[in-house]
């Protein structure tokens, strides 16, 4: 009978991404309620060395699929590996980070295992013997509680939504031999922006809207840099061609969950408000006191952003000394 919870991890450049530990902590929390071990799955090439780090978050069994064929992060190879680790661990539930890669793996795994999947969850609880997950829908306008019937229940968690909880123990590392058939995908090129903080993973997001007036986002970039944050853009700023699509926050862009969200010259269209709704503290800076954003913020400044934002940057720099 399936038991315990298996958390899938993800690495970048030989290090675990933070979402990995969020997944392990979530698995541990579910396992305490439904019984069985909290387990971590580590997949990749040359990943054996870091696998035991998951023990610090409560992983009691650590299953490692270390295979050269996983070098390029190809989803079809990872799904095969993931299915074999699930078979080995036989968990009642699976937790995986809803990253770009994690979403792909979760979706294919659900089909391969005929298993229920709740995607991009912000909360998970156990109700009787059933797992209930909370997930935003309609770009965050609504939160849905969904029940998962079937095994394993796959819960893909949104980055930054679950706490990492230190829970050190002696995790037992097991190497699992996996068999991979030929992949139908190949990696041709990889372009990563070095030093860029990903919007969905950022502690602070500073967004520029139509009020920016042009593609000169230097005041927004400077504040983001001072706060170690990421730069976002409203849909209208993206439509104007001022910023790339990958910077767009909103219902047809990215949903962000920072501690601090600073909206500069953003009026606050309903699609944009949905994308930033789960930010902890929202600041709005706009010269129009009637802008809808002021009814959805915690702190507001009515002023020209080109005066207020550089002044904020200066104040932040002063604090840092």
């Amino acid at each position: 009978m399936p038991q315990g919870v298996l958390a899938f991890t993800e690495q970048v450049d030989g290090e675990f991404k933070k979402i990995s530990f969020e997944a392990v902590s979530t698995a541990k929390q579910i396992a305490e309620k439904i019984g069985g071990p909290a387990m971590a799955a580590v997949m990749g090439s040359g990943v054996g060395a870091i696998a035991d780090q998951t023990a610090a978050y409560g992983a009691q069994r650590i299953l490692v699929a270390d295979n050269d064929a996983l070098q390029d992060g190809l989803v079809d190879a990872f799904v095969q590996a993931a299915a074999q680790l699930v078979e080995k661990a036989d968990p009642a539930a699976v937790v995986i980070g809803a990253s770009a890669m994690g979403k792909d793996i979760a979706a294919r795994l659900s089909a391969r295992l005929s298993a229920p999947l709740a995607m991009d969850c912000v909360d998970v609880r156990v109700d009787g013997d059933q797992i209930v997950a909370t997930r935003p829908m309609y770009g965050g306008k609504v939160l849905a509680d969904v029940s998962l019937a079937g095994t394993p229940a796959i819960v893909a968690i949104r980055p930054r939504s679950m706490d990492t909880v230190a829970d050190p123990g002696a995790g037992e590392v097991e190497t699992v031999d996996i068999e991979l058939t030929a992949t139908a995908l190949s990696l041709v090129d990889k372009q990563m922006e070095t030093g860029k903080i990903e919007l969905t993973e950022a502690d602070v997001v500073v967004t520029g809207g139509r009020g920016m007036g042009s593609d000169d986002f230097s005041v927004v970039e400077a504040l983001a840099a001072a706060l170690d944050g990421a730069v976002g853009a409203s849909r209208s700023a993206v439509d104007e061609g001022w910023r790339p699509v990958s910077d767009q926050v909103g219902q047809t862009g990215k949903v962000v969950t920072p501690n601090l969200y600073v909206a500069c010259g953003v009026s606050g269209a309903i699609q944009h408000l949905a994308g930033m709704a789960s930010s902890r503290v929202v600041v709005a800076i706009n010269k129009d006191p009637e802008a809808p954003i002021f009814s959805k913020c915690d702190f507001g400044i009515v002023a020209d952003l080109f005066d207020a934002v550089p002044a904020m940057t200066a104040e932040v720099e002063k604090l840092k000394g």
């Binding site: 609504v142 509680d145 090129d189 702190f299």
Partner: protein, 256 residues
């Protein structure tokens, strides 16, 4: 090139979403229904490929009678034929939808399947890759650029902090991301022509796919905690307001 496009009818993104009396669905009487924006990009991309290399574009949707409007929009954009799987009032989860669509797609012979990377109603990110898995074909998600190369498709996709260029052997599934294209508007002649194009309606119970009971069920909808109107920071100048704001963020909100 035989191309299939998977589309879904969804509430427009400017819709205000309210929870219905049953507590598990939304009020639909005030909603404006549109084609999921990412699926419109899928239709557009399929049309561009067809027009470049020849072939045909078949649009699939799964939904109630009113979902015909979504198919008509795709046909008016220029798709050749359309298929609606009539859900007959049955509630399906994402996996069941994928299973049914994969079953219907297998009845044809498609080289390429294009879908939105997610629908903006249930934000599930599941159907495209799950269809590909059921069909045993590769998929590339969140594509912002594609190029056919013989029996392969080469795509640029977005990931956290960058992009990847991946190649998949055909037949393959790709899902669209903003940036791929700007979907065309439907023209009046296009709309007129679309009215004459056939729509093949297939009742779910006659598809031969057994979907069983939904494994994922919505048991409650709730609205996210409402953010009340914020405190407007007063001051003589922008600089004074900025200083007071940063102080509040540090001392009260403790976020910097």
């Amino acid at each position: 090139m035989e191309i299939a496009v998977l589309i879904k009818q969804v509430p427009s993104t400017d819709s205000v979403v309210e929870i219905a009396a049953d507590g598990t669905t939304i009020k639909t009487d005030v909603i404006k229904w549109v084609v999921n924006p990412y699926d419109e990009m899928a239709v557009e991309e399929a049309l561009q490929i067809r027009d470049a290399v020849g072939g045909s574009v078949t649009v699939f949707t799964l939904g109630p009678d009113k979902a015909v409007d979504a198919l008509r929009t795709a046909l008016a954009m220029g798709a050749d034929t359309a298929v609606r799987i009539d859900t007959e009032g049955k509630a399906l989860d994402g996996l069941a939808v994928a299973k049914v669509l994969a079953g219907e797609l297998k009845k044809g012979s498609f080289d390429l399947i294009v879908a939105g990377h997610r629908a903006v109603d249930d934000d599930n990110y599941q159907v495209g890759p799950a269809v590909a898995e059921f069909m045993g074909i590769p998929h590339i998600s969140m594509v912002i650029k594609q190029e056919l190369d013989g029996d392969k498709i080469r795509c640029t996709r977005t990931v956290e902090g960058g992009t990847l260029v991946l190649e998949a052997a055909l037949p393959a599934m790709i899902t669209t991301q903003r940036g791929l294209n700007e979907p065309r508007y439907t023209s009046l002649p296009g709309i007129m022509k679309a009215k004459k194009k056939p729509i093949d309606t297939r009742p779910l119970s006659e598809t031969g796919t057994d979907v069983g009971e939904a494994m994922v069920k919505t048991i409650a909808l709730k609205l996210p905690p409402e953010r009340k109107g914020g405190r407007i920071i007063e001051g003589e100048s922008a600089a004074e307001k900025a200083a007071a704001l940063v102080r509040a963020l540090k001392e009260e909100a403790k976020v910097i």
